[in-house]
Symmetry: C2
Subunit: 349 residues, 2 copies
Amino acid sequence: MKKFDIYEDPHRRFNPLINEWVLVSPHRAKRPWQGQKETVANEGRPEYDPECYLCPGNVRANGEVNPLYTSSFVFENDFAALKQEEIEFEESNEATFFKAKPERGISRVVCFSPKHNITLPEMDLPTIEEIIRTWQKEYTDLGNVDYINYVQIFENKGSVMGCSNPHPHGQIWAQSSLPTQIEKTQNSLKNYFDKNGSNLLLDYLEKEIEAKERIVIENEHFVALVPFWAIWPFETLIVCKRHVTKITDFNTAEVTDYALILKQLTAKYDNLFETSFPYSSGIHQAPTDGIEHPEWLFHMHFYPPLLRSASVKKFMVGYEMMGESQRDITAEKSAQMLRDLSNIHYKSK
Amino acid sequence: MKKFDIYEDPHRRFNPLINEWVLVSPHRAKRPWQGQKETVANEGRPEYDPECYLCPGNVRANGEVNPLYTSSFVFENDFAALKQEEIEFEESNEATFFKAKPERGISRVVCFSPKHNITLPEMDLPTIEEIIRTWQKEYTDLGNVDYINYVQIFENKGSVMGCSNPHPHGQIWAQSSLPTQIEKTQNSLKNYFDKNGSNLLLDYLEKEIEAKERIVIENEHFVALVPFWAIWPFETLIVCKRHVTKITDFNTAEVTDYALILKQLTAKYDNLFETSFPYSSGIHQAPTDGIEHPEWLFHMHFYPPLLRSASVKKFMVGYEMMGESQRDITAEKSAQMLRDLSNIHYKSK
Ligand SMILES: O=P(O)(O)O[C@H]1O[C@H](CO)[C@@H](O)[C@H](O)[C@H]1O
Ligand SMILES: O=P(O)(O)O[C@H]1O[C@H](CO)[C@@H](O)[C@H](O)[C@H]1O
């Protein structure tokens, strides 16, 4: 009988963060593609676009005028998915089949730069450090609102990821419940902490640094790696090396190193297919529920959809929706490809 | 304080099938859209396409020639994500962080019709009944393979759902493990059955028939409804009214009614935006592990991505990936829109 070869044979891998499996089919990467091609973003954008509702000095949908901001700029989302209003609610008896409850929250937009035509890897380090300080301020301010228990910071980059405006920006949705993915992660982290008295992600990081093969970038305070259980073709995870549970606990040196790894990782992404690489990214960290959370470790997920070129993405559809997430290239191979690429953005060479 | 109005206020709903919440933001449907538009499929396809590897008599990638089939036609996937080979494997000690195991399985393609240019709602009932009988035969044959414990039947329709060939076809991935979504569903069904001595989905169906507001189509043996906890804008669920755990248990009258509801539901979908409506659909039913599964009820999910028109879809991205699934239109509103549409395909009028 043939011996199991993780680089060749179909297999499942287990994600201990959310307690779920992913199907890996390494041999399938060679499959030809005749399906949908994504349109590659037009690169010739101006530094200021009079039609853009995120550019400084322009008018937004609700009539407000953006200030002439020079670094990061935050405002309340004009089409928020969550509302601040308190709603009166009685739990119904239909607990099994028609279970619903109101959800309170605040949605904000974070412009990363006044310049309409640049993205993270093209920004200088002070600009990225300023974005991190803005995230810190928002985590504090939103987290201090009495009914807010979780602050989800994220970015959708590229039209293929549902981003409707190329002006560099992210979002924050802060709410009273722990969202599904956070609750799952918290349960896993907590179980591990209670059982082992140590931090799941710090223990995992130690093993990854030993193993080396999934590391993409390492600096003094941070590591970017392709997790063993990655779902998206070039999915990565940024983890900090010290036991920091939330973004506000980073010291100055850590903010600098975080900015640096963000710049270098996103530069590698752009370099992979010499295109502005689409992704959704998001920070997972301790809830703001007033409880100590030693089980948490600050980390940031990158879920990029591209698979083989600037125009061919991985579709998470039929089998993946009905059965289980599936990938066609191993985490080790993706990590190697990203590691071997330059840290310097191809456009600045 | 304002009283909770499920049709207006942001809220979360609970899905008892997989034990997860979805965030619903009814007020957000009015948001303008300046983002990516999908290309609407070119409708002028010939009945036979000499370039199509699924058309009768044509040559596939591996050199095999398709027979001159006249109804359904099944073959082994030339680029299967799973392989039949048995792999030797020793469980490793790295159980927490690097947990992996080989997975055996069989992937097949099911052509629905020899005609290159029609889809389910445009087929006549005998053709759809023949597809159902093909699914029955495959469920039996694959389920009888000793190492196959689950048979996942699904369809990806439309290029936006990663379908690379418009020739009407679906797929079957059969494997030794229960895929993630099946395991979750089975756990919920089993817990409910053990606790209540009845079937979760049959009890749910009873309440939905009483409530009426989420029903889209009902015939003697089947119901198509928008589940209370639907994620996708026009997501639906086809459920059978009798306690049938697997597709092979349907009698002749049920096969006919199943074909009818499939035809009518997909016709309504096409009528919604007068376009060939993309979706991923999949059948969830009892595993083929040789155990009795009274907790199961045969059902079929439809996950269509379109939101507002033939070219504007819902993106499940940043917040949805990092936090929780989110929808902008209530299940009740979607059900009403689908219910109010004709059963007859717009092209045949
Ligand atoms: O097998 P196909 O049609 O080539 O591929 C399609 O369906 C598969 C199963 O859902 C997915 O894994 C692929 O991403 C998708 O493009
Ligand atoms: O808020 P935006 O940028 O208009 O919208 C985008 O991000 C949201 C949060 O991930 C999603 O719900 C939307 O589907 C997506 O288009």
